[in-house]
Structures are given as C-alpha cells and as structure tokens.
C-alpha cells in the first residue's frame, strides 16, 4: 500500500502529559498522512484516549507540539476544532433528543453550513447510516450500535477533513463492527483522514495504513500492519498431546512447527482455512496420532504485546 505522506494531517512531537504524578504520555512522536487511516493500538490504560484528547484540543499537553490540519492545537484551538470531528469512546449524543434532532443540532451549531442545506444534510446522513426508521425516536431508545452510528453521523456534519475515532467498535457485536468498518473505509475513500484507536489487532489490520503500538505512554512500535505482524507469530493451529512421545512423533511430521515441551503443545503455522486444517488432521490420521486438544489461534493484541514488550496486556494495564 502506498502511504501518502506528501502532506501531514496530524503531526505530534515530544508529546507529554501527566495527571498528578502519573505520567500518561511520555514523549509521543507521530505523523499521519492526509487521507490515510492511522491506528493507535494499545490495551486499556495505555494512554490512547489521552492522546486523542490532546490531539483534539480537549486536553492541554504538558509538553511537545501538535499540529492538526496545519494549526497548532495550543495556540489555535478554534481553527483545529473547525477542521476536525471527534467521536469519543462513549456516544456523545443527546439522549432526550431524537436522532434527527441530534443531527439538526449539529447543523445549527456549524458556522459553515448555509441554512438552506441543513435539511438535506440531515436526511442524507440518516439514509447513509441506515437510521431513517428510528429518526423520530429519542436516542435513549437506541441500541449500542445505533447510538454509535448516530454519534459518528453527528461527527460528520459539516464534512470535517480529519476525524478522530476513539475505540469506535468497543462493545459492538460483530455485525455492527463490520458495518462500522465499511463506514470508515468509505470515509477515507472520500479523502478524509482518520485517526483511530483500538484494542483489536484485527481492526488495525483491517483498516489502517499505519499502526502505532502504545504501551504505558510510549510508542513501542510503528509501521504498516504487515510490518507489525512480521514481528509476531502468524495464525497457527495449536495441538495438545497427552504424552511426550506423541509430541515427539507429531513434531517430526510438521518440521516448520514449534513445540512447547512443558505444555505438551505443538504450534503449526496455518492460514486457518478449512483446506489447511484438513491437511493437518489428515497428516495426524495418517500416522495414527490423535491430539487431545485442537485450536486455531489468530494473533491478537496480546501476541503483539508479548512480542514487543515481553509482557501480556493484563500486566501492561497495571
């Protein structure tokens, strides 16, 4: 994938922030190219939300400089605000207003929208986010997925060129998550820059042009999703045996595998598809070997963390 770095939508250097004596961001440098998706990946408590808050003018940094859409967030917050849209971790909708009224509120508050265009913008967004049917109901009656959609639709009023999404799919069911992904892809197809935080490696992999991994206020890795994945074990099949003899025999069958003698497990690289799984099972059958347990393992944030920091995300969150 070609990363369009000719123009930067967001640049941050030496970003620092502490709350009391707790250091949350400890020297963050990052650059997001115009029209690209940048994903900040990290476990709970790593500083993702603080980063978004600083980049979007909600929180003042203690040190470092940030430029968003060419404006300094510290000295020209208003110009930054006029250029960005932010969807936080918790849906920022007015619960007592209906979906349509929420969108109309955003239209009314936007200085750049001409009065005559308001109705059309609201209707288009309701259609685009599949909210027409519930447009007349108060947002308090919406499901989690609908609320997120309304939230994002509100962010898009006025066509901001840079959008911050803080964990846009956390807590969503798989279907709503896919819908959200396709909405985000459409945005970028229209030239919008997206800064996205997530706890899911898969999400960063699916969407992002570049990924940065955040751990306790430090960026521990930055690159394309492929570069990142090269540093960790790919999708594999995990086989657990009952005896060391069986493990030995199986390890000879799969020369590319890695074994764990203590747990009596064997890790066989596989793409996770049915054909490759069948090949593994057939080969075990052929030699009359049976594994006690068989599982397909996809690399997740835990694997990335283990590979990059030597710690699990649970330890990192403490």
């Amino acid at each position: 994938m070609v990363v369009r770095m000719t123009n930067s939508a967001i640049t941050a250097s030496g970003l620092r922030k502490a709350f009391g004596d707790k250091v949350v961001l400890d020297g963050i440098d990052l650059e997001v190219g115009e029209g690209s998706i940048f994903s900040l990946l990290g476990p709970n408590g790593s500083g993702k939300t603080t980063t978004v808050n600083v980049l979007s003018t909600l929180t003042k940094a203690d040190g470092g400089t940030v430029r968003v859409a060419g404006h300094d967030v510290a000295t020209d917050a208003r110009a930054v605000r006029a250029a960005i849209g932010v969807t936080g971790q918790f849906a920022a909708v007015d619960e007592l207003l209906t979906g349509r009224e929420n969108l109309q509120l955003m239209v009314d508050l936007n200085r750049r929208i001409h009065a005559g265009d308001g109705k059309r913008i609201v209707t288009e967004l309701l259609e685009r986010f599949d909210l027409v049917e519930s447009a007349g109901k108060p947002a308090s009656t919406y499901s989690g997925g609908m609320r997120r959609k309304l939230d994002l639709a509100m962010t898009l009023v006025g066509d901001p060129r840079i959008i911050f999404l803080d964990e846009p799919t956390t807590g969503l069911d798989p279907r709503s998550r896919r819908t959200m992904w396709s909405i985000i892809r459409d945005l970028v197809a229209g030239g919008v820059t997206v800064f996205l935080t997530t706890q899911y490696l898969e999400e960063a992999d699916q969407l992002a042009d570049r990924v940065a991994v955040l751990d306790q206020g430090h960026l521990v890795a930055q690159g394309t999703p492929d570069e990142l994945k090269r540093q960790i074990a790919g999708t594999h099949v995990r086989l657990r045996f009952t005896t060391a003899a069986e493990l030995d025999a199986a390890a000879r069958l799969f020369p590319e595998s890695t074994r764990d003698d203590e747990a009596l497990t064997l890790r066989v690289p596989s793409d996770g598809g049915t054909a490759s799984l069948r090949a593994v099972l057939d080969r075990l059958d052929e030699y009359s070997l049976g594994a006690e347990e068989f599982s397909v393992h996809r690399p997740d944030l835990d694997d990335v963390f283990l590979a990059l920091t030597g710690r699990t995300t649970e330890v990192a969150a403490k």
Partner: protein, 247 residues
C-alpha cells in the same frame, strides 16, 4: 455567540417538552402554595392588609426559587454525559450551553409568575401598581431570575452527580421561608428575625411588595438591585471558572 445560545435554548425547550414534569412542578407548586397560605393559614396571620396582597409578592420570589432545582440537575447531567465533550471539541462559543440553561430558567420563572399572579387576581389580589410599577416588577424579577439561574448553574457544575446537584439547590428553595415572604420579619423570634431582615431575599420581596402596592421604597430597590447584581456576578464568575475546569 448569540445564535449558538439560541440553538442551545431550543435544545433546552425540547428537553422540557420531552420531560414536562419539571416545568409543570415549577408552575404548579407556587399556585398550590398560594392556595395553602391564603386559604389555610391566611386568617391566622395578622399582617395589617389582606393576606393575599401580602403573600403574593413573597410567592413571586418563591416561584423563581422553585424552578431552580431542576436547573441544577439538568446542568449537571449535561456535564456528566458525553454530549458536552462533543460541544467542547466543536468550534462553538463555549458558554452557549450554559446561557441556554439560564434563558430557559428565566422563561420558566416568568411563566410560573404569570400563572401565580393570574390565580392571585382570581383570589382577590388587588395590586395598585401603575404600568411603570409593573415594568419595574418585570425588570426586578428578570434580574433576580438571571442572577439565581447563574448561581444555580454554578451549583450544578460544582456538584459531582445530578442527585447532589438537586440537593445543592434546596437551600435556595428554603431561603424564602426565612424572609418576609410569608410573614413580616418583625413577628419572628430573636435571631431568626435578624436573619430574615438582612438576608438578600427580604429587600427583594419588599421591593416587589412596594411596586405592587404602587409605592416602592427607594432604599429597598437599591439594596435589591445590588444583591441581584452581586449574586449574578458571583454566579457567572463561579460558573465560568468551574466550566473551564471541568472542560
């Protein structure tokens, strides 16, 4: 700036329309109090004039205070819910959301007072105010409404939860009872009498009473305006500071 406040005011009106009980209470309670004091207790109080004439100005002030509890609660729930974060990252005037609450509160006050005065007239209230006095009354009531609304907005911002915000406004609702609203301060016991004489609501009520009686006393008017202006400035400064801190 003004336009954004109007948009926020429209939002407040929609909230009220969805949940009308608060305004219903704010309008109904003073009327109920009027019935209670005039019919139940009125004969027991000796105030030198028809009791309805004495009590109505006090109840006007009570009507202003009564609407405030819900203002504190709704300001606070605005701050604790995510929608405020959206407003803060938008290119809009920062105080607009607060101004919206203040204007909605003052309009609710005026509605409640109109209902109260209407019912009082039916009960035999006989004001001798001139047109100019009525205008003066409207001005004092609006000034008081704005002052107390800013003060309450500050209380709402300072509270941690909507529930504690509602509680924080309770003293404002109680304060009129310890003033000359219901009975003259001179009839109260020592201690309470001095408190009632010097607390801010008494000169404000006496001003309203003077205006409705057609003979406002200049000293009361000046003290009342000074109190209102003081409370307004204090409330506004406190609210702005708390808003910035929470933002």
């Amino acid at each position: 700036m003004k336009a954004h406040s109007m948009v926020m005011l429209r939002r407040n009106f929609k909230h009220i329309a969805r949940n009308p009980t608060t305004v219903f209470n704010a309008v109904l309670m003073p009327v109920v109090m009027l019935f209670m004091f005039v019919y139940m207790f009125g004969d027991a109080f000796s105030v030198g004039v028809d009791y309805v004439d004495y009590a109505t100005p006090g109840l006007i002030l009570l009507a202003v205070c009564y609407g405030l509890g819900s203002v504190a609660t709704s300001v606070n729930s605005d701050m604790t819910k995510g929608v405020i974060n959206r407003f803060k990252v938008m290119d809009i005037s920062r105080g607009a959301v607060l101004t919206g609450h203040v204007i909605a509160s003052v309009l609710t006050n005026l509605l409640a007072i109109a209902a109260l005065v209407g019912v009082a007239l039916l009960l035999g209230f006989d004001p001798s105010a001139s047109v100019l006095d009525w205008l003066g009354l409207l001005g004092i009531v609006a000034l008081l409404g704005v002052a107390l609304a800013w003060f309450t907005v500050a209380l709402g911002l300072a509270a941690k939860t909507p529930e504690t915000a509602g509680m924080a406004a309770v003293p404002l609702v109680m304060l009129p009872f310890f003033s000359s609203a219901i009975v003259p301060a001179e009839t109260m016991g020592p201690g309470l009498r001095e408190f009632a004489q010097y607390q801010p609501f008494t000169p404000i009520i006496e001003t309203l009473r003077g205006l409705l009686g057609g003979s406002p006393a200049g000293s009361d008017v000046i003290v009342a305006i000074a109190w209102c202006a003081g409370i307004a400035v204090l409330g506004y400064v406190w609210a702005s500071a708390t808003f910035t801190k929470r933002a």
